[in-house]
């Protein structure tokens, strides 16, 4: 089951989805047991922004039938905090490290990319483009031109593999993905969460502190499969497929639809070792299906 992903050798095709596994906190909770059975073939960090962020006010979670709406709001220590506190610890993980970054302007993204280009601990970068460019007001990941502009600015700054994490809340995801590829992306990953909302059962006000949030989990699986499938025929570069994966069979579906790697997110909340189970099931189904 070992996979070559943009020149990085991975033990199997299952990685975590950004923001759904904090290896440092998990090590506090599970200790050595986590490290000796690390559930993912690569570790993707939660989105890092240039400046530290507190994140959204609670409540941040709403449970759905087969899913979850989160409005976490990208809390993180900011670039400096990450470099000082997190990177040294994450560098000790037994798998390659992929750092997910987001910026609200091309300069911000450029600063992040340059900083991580300088760090050997980092195997690859993932650009989270599910946010507006504050200078143009356009959602970077929903607009092919906006993304092309960003790629033109940051691609030259790094020789590490650059993954573009696409938003599913776009009219024409294939057009955005093509812009990523044409701009020199080494891979794309999708889907990020779908915009969703819930009201307080009694007061009728928005439940989430952030008013709206992102839907993940089984409820979005069919949408993820359709979007991965739609890209498979238009892209040359590899795809990291994610969205609602709970089993090896569902991971295999994404691979059949065109993904090279599969990301596991919400399912890790139900079982911290879900990645282990899913990659084992996938290995088994691959043997039986000859995938």
């Amino acid at each position: 089951m070992s996979v070559d992903f943009c020149g990085i050798e991975l033990a199997h095709p299952v990685i975590n989805a950004s923001g759904t596994f904090d290896a440092i906190a998990a090590e506090r909770a599970f200790g050595q047991g986590l490290l000796s059975n690390f559930p993912f073939a690569a570790f993707v960090s939660k989105t890092v922004t240039l400046n530290a962020r507190q994140g959204n006010p609670p409540p941040r979670l709403w449970e759905l039938a087969g899913g979850l709406i989160n409005s976490i709001g990208l809390p993180n220590k900011g670039l400096q905090g990450y470099l000082e506190h997190d990177l040294p610890q994450l560098a000790r993980l037994p798998v390659p490290l992929i750092v997910n970054v987001m910026g609200f302007s091309r300069d911000e993204v450029a600063a992040l990319v340059e900083a991580f280009e300088a760090r050997d601990e980092v195997a690859a970068l993932e650009l989270n483009v599910s946010c507006p460019n504050v200078e143009t007001g356009l959602l970077i990941g929903a607009d092919p031109d906006e993304l092309a502009g960003l790629m033109a600015r940051v691609r030259p700054l790094t020789s590490k593999p650059l993954i573009v994490k696409l938003t599913p809340n776009a009219s024409d995801v294939p057009a955005v993905a093509r812009a990523a590829q044409d701009g020199g992306a080494d891979a794309v990953s999708l889907i990020n969460t779908l915009r969703g909302m819930a009201l307080h059962p009694r007061s009728g006000d928005p439940w989430l502190g952030g008013v709206t949030g992102g839907v993940s989990g089984p409820a979005v699986r069919a949408v993820a499969l359709a979007q991965v499938h739609a890209l498979a025929s238009v892209l040359r570069i590899p795809i990291i497929g994610m969205g609602g994966v709970q089993s090896g069979h569902q991971a295999a579906d994404l691979i059949r639809a065109g993904a090279t790697l599969v990301g596991v997110g919400t399912e890790s909340f139900r079982d911290p070792a879900a990645g282990l189970r899913i990659s084992a099931e996938l290995a088994e189904s691959s043997v039986s299906t000859g995938l």
């Binding site: 923001g19 759904t20 596994f21 904090d22 440092i24 906190a25 998990a26 506090r28 909770a29 599970f30 200790g31 047991g33 986590l34 059975n37 939660k46 507190q54 994140g55 006010p57 609670p58 409540p59 941040r60 979670l61 449970e63 759905l64 039938a65 087969g66 899913g67 979850l68 989160n70 976490i72 809390p75 307080h200 009694r202 007061s203 439940w207 989430l208 502190g209 989990g217 089984p218 919400t266 890790s268 909340f269 139900r270 079982d271 911290p272 070792a273 282990l276």
Partner: protein
């Protein structure tokens, strides 16, 4: 605070339910956990029923649910939890019977720390929040069991007050006066503090009670350890969903709690959402 925790085996494990019985308005769920370590009082577990989790009203529960361990005798493999039926998850867990499978992750989080030098522990619990105080009583007890650990427990009514039987020594108050002191448990706490405030307060209960306890501790300069609650998706720091505001910003109570020092909080009232 430095970690006061026993680490959990990595992953979710299936254990067997030993018994599930009513205790007044509550349910006590007991299971055998031969593969897990003995937890520290104040730690919690994420629980999922082995079957039919994903069904039920509105097709929830989907995520695991957090429960403080209520009792975990040092000798043996038993874990007891105390549940109040407030929704689909607690209802489903309360339906389990002997030999049913229960999936758990834990022990998780930071438990209670021993009392600061020379201070007498004083336990204050409200409703189902008395659960972690039961195991705390066990763990604070002197080896010879001579010094009883006093607990002040508040409930809605007599039906709920039956839960007090799960702790050794306790003084009970009820909101409606149908059992014990008629009034708030903080009335009794004030009385205790007036009598002798060389104590360390350990509290768990509904947010308004915790906030009253926090304010009292601050006023009297008494150290307090509060076991907080918040909606959780994962229980091990993965989702950043369970944050509460503290003096040093939002913290995830599943890894930097659920027990926090009262002095770290400006308020123990849960923000927004109407929990």
């Amino acid at each position: 605070m430095t970690d006061r925790r026993v680490q959990a085996p990595f992953g979710r494990r299936a254990v067997e339910v030993a018994a599930c019985r009513r205790e007044g308005a509550y349910v006590v769920l007991q299971c055998h956990d031969p593969d897990g370590p003995r937890p520290v009082a104040g730690q919690f577990y994420m629980l999922t029923a082995g079957q039919r989790w994903g069904g039920g009203e509105d097709e929830r529960p989907f995520l695991p649910r957090a429960f403080s361990v209520m009792r975990a005798p040092a000798d043996g493999d038993r874990l007891d939890f105390m549940l109040e039926d407030v929704g689909p998850g607690t209802r489903r867990l309360g339906e389990l019977g002997p030999e049913d499978a229960l999936l758990l992750v834990g022990p998780l989080g930071n438990g209670f720390a021993p009392p600061r030098q020379g201070r007498r522990p004083l336990l204050v619990g409200g409703g189902v929040g008395i659960a972690p105080l039961a195991i705390l009583q066990d763990q604070l007890a002197t080896p010879d069991g001579t010094e009883p650990i006093s607990a002040l427990l508040g409930f809605r009514d007599a039906q709920h007050a039956m839960g007090a039987g799960l702790l050794a020594d306790s003084v009970v108050a009820t909101d409606d006066g149908s059992y014990g002191h008629h009034g708030l448990i903080t009335d009794l706490l004030i009385r205790e503090l007036d009598r002798d405030d060389h104590v360390e307060v350990y509290a768990c209960g509904p947010p308004p009670m915790l906030e009253a306890v926090r304010a009292l501790c601050a006023e009297r300069g008494v150290p307090g350890q509060l076991a907080l609650e918040s909606g959780m998706a994962c229980g091990f720091g993965a989702c950043f969903g369970c944050v509460v505001p503290t003096r040093s910003g939002y913290v995830r109570i599943c890894v930097d709690g659920p027990v926090v020092n009262a002095a770290e909080l400006d308020t123990a009232l849960a923000p927004g959402g109407g929990h």
